[in-house]
Symmetry: C2
Subunit: 188 residues, 2 copies
């Protein structure tokens, strides 16, 4: 009965890896206990319940993704920044599909407000600063970008674009180009 070094942080990380391997929906307290070589109820010393685990993984993924996006857009502006922003999301989703799905978990308002989710919104606004939109338009544009990127990535992950020409990468580039043109045309 030696003690493993289980902590909420390690469990969260292990849960994130598990999510990438088997899908976020299959992340279960049981499976995580098995992966950690521990009996199921042992985890309840570190986690409140199953939902708590899911939320922790979601917050972890939001944080990690925000870091990546911030890194990608640093020092860029305009079309360059837009493309880097978009690619950071898409690459993360392709590299870590389970974590990406986790990041889309619906959080209750106060948890969301304290999460890295706000950094995502701030970064989207920062990208748009280069396009000099006036006030209501900037918010509309944030929502448009969020919709397109999230929508494309989730459809792509679901396989909706697979097995049909043209290549998914070409469509992605075309879409990013189009959004850039769109935003420039809306510039005040």
């Amino acid at each position: 009965m030696e003690k493993r070094g289980l902590t909420p942080e390690r469990l969260t990380r292990a849960g994130a890896e598990l999510a990438d391997e088997v899908g976020f929906d299959e992340v279960t307290v049981s499976a995580l206990a098995r992966r950690c070589g521990v009996k199921l109820p042992s985890l309840y010393s570190h986690l409140k319940n199953s939902q708590d685990l899911r939320v922790r993984i979601a917050l972890f993924a939001l944080e990690e993704l925000a870091d990546r996006v911030a890194d990608a857009v640093a020092g860029r502006a305009g079309r360059d920044a837009l493309a880097a922003f978009a690619d950071a999301y898409r690459d993360y989703a392709r590299e870590h599909p389970g974590r990406y799905a986790a990041a889309r978990l619906r959080l209750d308002p106060e948890t969301a407000a304290a999460s890295a989710g706000v950094r995502h919104a701030q970064m989207a606004r920062a990208i748009l600063r280069g396009y000099e939109l006036n006030d209501p338009d900037a918010t509309h544009a944030v929502r448009l970008l969020g919709s397109v990127f999230h929508g494309y990535v989730s459809l792509e992950l679901a396989g909706a674009f697979a097995h049909s020409a043209p290549d998914e990468q070409q469509s992605w580039d075309w879409i990013v180009d189009s959004l850039d043109a769109l935003l420039r045309s809306r510039s005040s």
Copy 2:
């Protein structure tokens, strides 16, 4: 032990209603049995298993949604058709969130090929006919529309845009306008 008139079709419909009430993820064989006033194992005469139920609801929702969209765009073209198409999706998702979530269930390729999903793609292409895009661009545009509409609707349902100005309807209108302008500018 009188026989109820349970059929796969009625169970599918009841499942769709249940999905709208409690969310697609909470649609369970148990809950459906309770709702139908029948013991759980009885449903296994009509359904293969839990996944079969989910797929049936998904196919039902795809069909119903395709009918609505077809109805909405009939006799329209250009910006009108685009707006009708977009609104049909959004209205369906708001009216039937559980069914909309069901329609997004990942289907295996042969099931998807036999589903109303193909009608959705055809209708999107039909809308774009009014913009006279050349061949690869038309596919990119189909993917863009799918991404934006799906992305916006799912973020809106998740509450991502709630409780912050401006109004969700205004952003939606702005986005549809923007897409119309974008497609016209890409016209060959």
